[in-house]
């Protein structure tokens, strides 16, 4: 089962790197009309001259597997669903490593996504159009800004010539800091 899944689940990703221009309305991606408005982007990208926008998905095949699993074994499906969320995050990690590899000597900020902090979720359609995720990854955005296939993530990671402090990842920044069951046992999760 585990082997079958490892072989079948394949995160795909795509990214583009843009120079950043600071304007009154927010941070503009050079050569586009695309703005990253708000305090979150400002804080996260404070020391960055460039940023990578990326998208990662487990694809329609994973959703099909999840549907098929729900028709057979709901308990297994719940576990598969949770694994899918972890796998797509892992795909994002791999995408980040690839980006970092293209920019030796540069440092990536933690990644952040539309819907995080004050970065509006309504950026999603333009974000996805900019990366051409329909063509590149088979991902589409609904009119309520949700991505299909469901295990899909879009994110921004700033590129800086200085080391970047953690601002999102790690227990210190986690909203479950005080309630986390893993943490009570002295462990931590992968995120």
């Amino acid at each position: 089962m585990a082997e079958e899944l490892t072989a079948a689940v394949r995160p795909r990703w795509t990214y583009r790197v843009f120079s950043l221009e600071r304007t009154a309305e927010g941070i503009r991606l050079a050569g586009t009309d695309f703005l990253l408005p708000g305090k979150t982007a400002e804080r996260m990208l404070a020391q960055c001259g460039q940023a990578a926008l990326f998208a990662c998905t487990l694809g329609a095949e994973f959703d099909a597997r999840l549907r098929s699993s729900q028709a057979r074994d709901m308990a297994g499906a719940v576990i598969l669903d949770a694994c899918g969320s972890a796998w797509v995050e892992q795909g994002c990690d791999r995408a980040e490593r690839e980006i970092a590899g293209r920019f030796p000597g540069m440092y990536l900020t933690d990644r952040f996504s539309p819907g995080y902090g004050d970065l509006p979720l309504s950026l999603q359609p333009a974000f996805c159009a900019l990366l051409d995720v329909g063509r590149r990854l088979g991902v589409s955005v609904t009119d309520r800004f949700l991505m299909v296939p469901t295990k899909s993530v879009t994110a921004v990671a700033g590129l800086s010539d200085r080391p970047q402090m953690a601002r999102i990842r790690g227990c210190e920044y986690c909203s479950m800091q005080t309630t986390c069951a893993l943490r009570k046992r002295g462990m931590r999760c992968a995120l």
């Binding site: 099909a64 098929s68 308990a75």
Partner: protein
Amino acid sequence: MRFEHLDRIVFLDGAMGTVLQQRGLPPGGQPELLNLTDPELLLSIHRDYIAAGSEIIYANTFGANGLKLRSSGHSVEEVVTAAVSIARRAAEGTGARVALDIGPLGELLEPMGSLTFERAYDLFCQMTLAGERAGADLAVIETMTDLYEAKAALLAVKENTALPAFVTMSFEGGGRTFTGCTVASMAHTLEGLGADAIGLNCSLGPDQLAPLLRQLCENTRLPVIAKPNAGLPDPVDGHYDMGPEDFARALVPCVEGGVTIVGGCCGTSPEYIRRLRAALADYAPSPRRSGGGSFVCTPVTPLRIDGVRVIGERINPTGKKRFQQALLENDLDYILDVAVAQEDAGADILDVNVGFPGVDEVEMLPRVVKKIQSAVSLPLQLDSSNPAALEAGLRVYNGKAAVNSVNGEAAVLERILPIVKKYGAAVVGLTLDKGGIPQTAEGRFAIARRILDAALAHGIPREDVWIDCLTLTVSAQQDQARETLLALRRVREELGLQTVLGVSNISFGLPNRGLITQNFLVQAMGAGLTVPIINPNQKEMMDAVAAFRVLSGEDAQCRAYIDRFTGQETKTAAPSAAAPLTLEDAIARGLKSEAAALARTALAEEDELSLVERRLIPALDRVGEGYEQGKVFLPQLLSAAQAAQSVFEVIRASIAEKGAAPVKKGHLIVATVQGDIHDIGKNIVKTVLENYGYEVTDLGRDVPPETIVQAAVEGQVRLVGLSALMTTTLPAMEETVRQLRALPHPPVTFVGGAVVTPEYARSIGADYYAKDARESVEIAREVFG
């Protein structure tokens, strides 16, 4: 322009989008609006392509559909008309043809997304009607990754216009599209639906597309199109890595392999087309080893009939009370369970028959097809004598299906064959006619030949004609088993057709039926039976097929046989040495088959209702309490619910057998609200509630408030559960609750989901907040008592 017998290579144009970006359009913009704002720019690009040698240019209509234009302030008609007119102007006096370009709609179709097939079809119709009116010479459907969407678009062209239709899809290097569609599935489905040429575009460079193009040429008789990218884009700057010369050179082997229509996609420019023309100046279409071979499929499961392929017969109400009850109650989940069980048992194709008094087949067959295809990947055989039902089913079927059946009667052939042809299905012909079933092999063979001739006359290729020589009960007509086998052998050997046979009837009325049926199946396969219709859940039948595949050489190195039979003894021969399992234990531990067996035993001593009330529900409650205390986790809770479900199945079957009223503790509706596509939480609630004996109508996900209100009113439902996962969809939850409360007899509402809180539930006027599936059971108890 006719495309069936191309005697030369035809040249398409290259990219539009990336050329526009080179000329200053920012990435992510909507290039279709340029048809209105900058026609001269488009005109010059079209002219450049024609000057470079393009004979067919694509009007700038790729994304000019009602979804993508919805907030642009412009209509589809307006944008398409402008785009086609610009291309027409460019083509004037040059002999170049103008194609209406149809790209993906930008939202995913069901079951992946929530766009229905019917709505997709309507959206494509807007484009095709406007395109033909504006003067397009042909339609090209391109960059598709979902075969279902390509089918909707192709039907929209074929049913509403006289335009020839090209269809190209985008594949990954592994030979599948993003949605898992294979090259073979694409080829057979689209050829069957009447495409004029098919091919591959976008996603990869010509070198990487070459092996896929070869596969495509082997799977179709149609002209094959290649419109690759200029290699791969550099993610950092978006620049494509293959120059015009390399591009042209890499396409030459594709043309040598049978491709006849060529052009470029992302990253190419007029210069690429110029080099391509030069490189291919001396080339004529290469001879092809085309298509052929019997084949049915879904997008992800291509099934070549080149050995014994089993059709599962269980989706059929005849003689099955539980199935009949499910049909009458609209219980599609039960039908899906029957499909899943057969897939897991090794069936290759599933027969689907939903004909039963009181069931509207025309409405039911397409619903069942969609339901099965949402979770089962096997090809289907639609089984009905009602032409309208067959058409409705074939229309929404994703892939190439089979139809069961026609017979030798002229009126039947005339009624059904045009539908089979239109949707590119395979068809089963029964060797009987007005005069009944001929008693001799000779008579049946004659009808088989007549059916074949009729099919050929309708343009259905012979590999799509499957003949059923009919099984008669051997205890009633003992001489007929031999005649069936004789007829079958002749159909196979003399006509070379696939042979179908429902074998189970043979043993009717005899003791130890399995033995007779198995023997008949073996003899029939020996006589040339390729597509037996059997119950795949009967192990001895599937065993016989597995053995036959070894002896016929189809199962190379006996691999499948060895897999099937090794380790089996150890699996079955391990009865627990511990204390005997009780029904309560089996449920708590999530042991489905054990729980069902124990329930069967228990029914000998107590009635159905008492089994539910005294044993099943208390057992579930104990698990539920453990869950609340954090001793049991969600997967275990669900396993227990599923074991309870298997007990319920035993109870339902027992009640259906007796014809008594089903156990129903109350009827409720669950739905994920409009705009939300996350439904696993709602599905968990449904699973748990059903296994407490509640009748749950699941309206699915992304459900508009009006649909929920209508269902609540029509079903006189007293309890409605709503789920939402995203903050963005909470307003839809609020609106649904508001509309439900406005009813003269408002149902009780409960709401839940990741972002829902008790305070929010109160603020929108919902009656209950359910933290989890377990709490929804408590709510149902309070409401229904």
